[in-house]
């Protein structure tokens, strides 16, 4: 790696000097705006209104994005922005999971605002460098790198023609280039997208942190919704931030002692209970692979089924044996949950890096389920190789896995064939074909390039060009709002169907994951119960994204006394922890109810932003029938006893003597009606009309009655 040669090819386009600031109660009180069309760099003040109504993180991102675009703006227009921010709590080192960055942009897949959260050091280092958020706007002529030196107070935009495209190489090059010495590498974080983001709509952003034990960069992903594609469309090759001097009090919190005490309590719980509970420190989120299979929730063969006889081959035990153990794998300082696992010295068998030994960041549960079981692939090496290439090429593993599962089902049904796929035999289970398709995506060639456009576009193309039945494609294509479903089987949980469907950005489980509360525990039996859960949990989880926090320390570790509480699913002690650290940092005095209202403001703002962009109504909250019940005879027969029983007990339909098609039709009518009734109940609970529009009364009651927001809403009431 000849760093000097790479650097000597850089051409300085713009340089900006700024006064180093000091944080005050979690905020720097300014943000950074960069336009890569004309190389403008400027500072903006954070207003009290922003802090009161939007808090930070995703809230700031959506606020700036709203002000940057019009209802006509498309994802690849120069005025579209990428906004990256942490949040007032972001960067503290005393409480686990406090290093998240939130990224917002108009999505190539959905046309609406997308938000995605990611670990790695960029968000906190940006904040310690002096900025609560970074807005990126415009479109450069040639590839540029933006470098923020948070110790010197300089920002540069540099043309950068020669660096590598793929993130695992580019991240190393830029860490080496911008660190002043080996010791300084830990103070660098790089944001980049890889080669496939030049072609696919499902491109992601990789955020690095330097792993001082491995002496290598690690990659964490802002995966959902194609923000990496926007990044490359702007011809941004990378963002680099450097800040030396991270320590525990840089947020200048109001009450350091309160934060310290709250953190110590959680560290002790993790130390005492993680090994018996989730084993996050051993295997990360992959701990639930076989759990999902045992409860018939692991998507297999494009969500046809929820379990498979071969799941043991990709179980958490298998990956535990491959993941390097006993390393403190936190993606930000002080996170003792340490779920950012990695497989070291992994030898690649395919692609441009074939034969090289690399570090694979993962596998996360979503990767094992999406790249593995959902595509009928039960080879752990193949899962890891797909995981690695998705990351470095900058492809969202969830969208890739769900889209590949869809095209595999289309292939097996004869909707597409070898002629159309250019020779790829896309049967379920064909890992080699999936890998080759991914390499094509990186090169922008062949069928892989097409698949990179995502399921919504593929449905249209398969119907228009290959005569496919659009009704069947809509039934089996697991996307909603243009975004591919994440990797949980929602068929037997009406609440989770709502958890996927009644969301702002599309079917991602980070708003609500209610399958066990609903399907197994039967704790929310009525529509009103489900609606209450689909109010509380999305609002509670939204709050993490306003503050730069990770969701996992909330409920992937549970205190000993939790079982004695009135609402154990909420983990009340941890909710109080969050209230305490928010108040401890900001000096405010909120309680757990006000925490929810903070989220409600931003949640409703995002809903109205969707409406402003031409979406966000009831029609857009419909979900494909594959998410609700059996589409095909094969699916019905695989769980015939369950479905026959439900027809008798729930639907009042006697299945005896009926054909499977008749039974499928009766089940479908029932389940689709249930989803509509759930939608009614949820809209009512959220203070929305039956078309899904927030009412003016509700907006006033939560304090989100800004004039520009009401102006949009009034047109739709």
């Amino acid at each position: 790696m000849n760093i000097e040669k790479l650097k000597s090819a850089h051409k300085l386009l713009s340089e900006y000097k700024y006064e180093l600031g000091k944080l005050e109660k979690g905020y720097t009180n300014r943000t950074l705006y960069i336009n890569v069309s004309d190389n403008t760099i400027k500072e903006k003040s954070v207003t009290q209104l922003m802090k009161d109504k939007f808090i930070g993180g995703k809230g700031f991102g959506l606020y700036y994005l709203w002000n940057a675009v019009t209802p006509e703006t498309k994802w690849n227009d120069p005025e579209n922005e990428i906004v990256i921010g942490s949040g007032p709590i972001g960067g503290i080192t005393q409480y686990p999971g406090a290093g998240k960055s939130l990224v917002c942009s108009l999505s190539p897949l959905t046309g609406m605002p997308m938000d995605s959260n990611v670990g790695g050091y960029f968000g906190p280092l940006l904040k310690f460098s002096g900025f609560d958020a970074l807005e990126l706007q415009g479109k450069a002529d040639k590839d540029v790198i933006i470098f923020i030196d948070g110790n010197k107070g300089t920002i540069t935009i540099e043309e950068a023609p020669e660096e590598a495209a793929d993130s695992h190489v580019l991240g190393e090059q830029l860490t080496e280039m911008y660190a002043e010495n080996e010791e300084d590498k830990r103070n660098i974080s790089v944001v980049s997208a890889g080669s496939a983001a030049n072609h696919a709509y499902m491109g992601l952003l990789n955020f690095t942190f330097y792993d001082v034990r491995r002496k290598q960069i690690r990659l964490k992903q802002a995966g959902r919704g194609g923000i990496g594609t926007v990044f490359r469309d702007k011809h941004i090759k990378a963002l680099v931030v450097r800040f030396a001097g991270v320590k525990g009090n840089l947020n200048n919190p109001d009450d350091q002692g309160k934060i310290n005490r709250t953190g110590i309590k959680l560290h002790k719980e993790i130390h005492d209970y993680d090994a018996q509970q989730c084993k996050m420190r051993q295997v990360g989120t992959a701990n639930i692979i076989e759990v999902m299979d045992q409860y018939d929730l692991l998507p297999t063969h494009n969500y046809k089924f929820g379990s498979h006889l071969d799941t043991f081959k990709i179980s958490s035990k298998v990956f535990t044996g491959m993941i390097t153990q006993n390393t403190p794998d936190g993606c930000w300082y002080g996170c003792s949950l340490s779920c950012a696992k990695a497989v070291d010295h992994f030898e690649l068998k395919t692609g441009p890096y074939k034969g090289q030994k690399v570090i694979v960041d993962g596998p996360e549960y979503e990767n094992a389920a999406g790249l593995g079981s959902n595509c009928g692939i039960f080879d752990p090496h193949a899962v890891l190789e797909l995981n690695f290439y998705c990351d470095t090429y900058a492809i969202d593993t969830i969208s890739y896995g769900t889209t590949t599962a869809f095209v595999m089902e289309c292939y097996e049904n004869g909707i597409i064939n070898k002629e159309i796929t250019g020779g790829l035999e896309l049967h379920f289970g064909n890992a080699d074909a999936s890998l080759e398709m991914l390499h094509q995506m990186s090169r922008g060639e062949g069928f892989g390039r097409l698949v990179g456009l995502g399921i919504r576009n593929l449905k249209r193309i398969f119907a228009e060009q290959y005569g496919a039945d659009p009704v069947f494609l809509n039934d089996i294509g697991m996307e909603q709002k243009g975004l591919e479903f994440s990797e949980y089987m929602p068929k037997e949980s009406l609440a989770q169907q709502g958890g996927y469907g009644l969301t702002n950005k599309g079917p991602q489980h980070d708003e609500a994951w209610l399958i066990f509360m609903d399907m197994v525990n039967n704790q929310i039996p009525t529509f009103e119960d489900k609606a209450e859960a689909l109010h509380y949990f999305p609002m509670f989880r939204t709050w993490f994204g306003l503050n730069g926090l990770c969701k996992l320390p909330w409920n992937d570790i549970v205190p000993a006394g939790n079982k004695h509480t009135d609402e154990p699913a909420k983990i009340p002690e941890h909710v109080q922890n969050y209230v305490d650290i928010f108040n401890g940092v900001t000096g405010n005095n909120i309680d757990k109810e006000q925490l929810i209202v903070q989220s409600e403001r931003v949640y409703n703002f995002q809903r109205i932003f969707n409406i402003r962009m031409g979406f966000g109504k009831r029609i857009h909250d419909a979900i494909p029938y594959r998410a609700m019940g059996p589409v095909t005879v094969e699916e019905y027969l695989s769980r015939a006893e369950r479905y026959d029983g439900q027809l008798k007990e729930l639907v009042g339909f006697n299945p005896e003597g009926k054909t499977t098609e008749e039974k499928i039709a009766a089940m479908r009518a029932y389940r689709e009606d249930q989803y509509q009734k759930l939608t009614d109940a949820v809209y009512k609970r959220r203070g929305w009309t039956m078309d899904g529009v927030p009412t003016i009364e509700h907006l006033k009651s939560i304090g989100m009655d800004l004039p520009e927001v009401l102006e949009v809403v009034k047109k739709h009431l």
Binding site: I288, Q294, V520, N521, Q523, F537, L552, K563
Partner: protein
């Protein structure tokens, strides 16, 4: 017959909590189990007998990624 999470479930003589978990393939580790609203600790799963007509709750604390 017993109630398991408010649904009917076939009871048999001598049914223990652990056997119930095995029958239902309830393998997830973070469980709260109550019989007639009385907590059963994990050390007692093997020895606790469920009686006909009992109201059993097996609450899984799993809320996804």
């Amino acid at each position: 017959m017993i109630k398991l999470n408010n649904r009917d479930f076939e009871w048999e003589e001598g049914l223990t909590v652990q056997e119930l978990l095995n029958k239902k393939s309830y393998t997830y580790p973070k469980l709260i189990i109550k019989i007639n609203n009385v907590l059963v600790s994990s050390e007692e799963y093997v020895s606790t007998i469920i009686r006909d007509g009992d109201d059993v709750k097996v609450i899984h604390l799993l809320a996804g990624g």
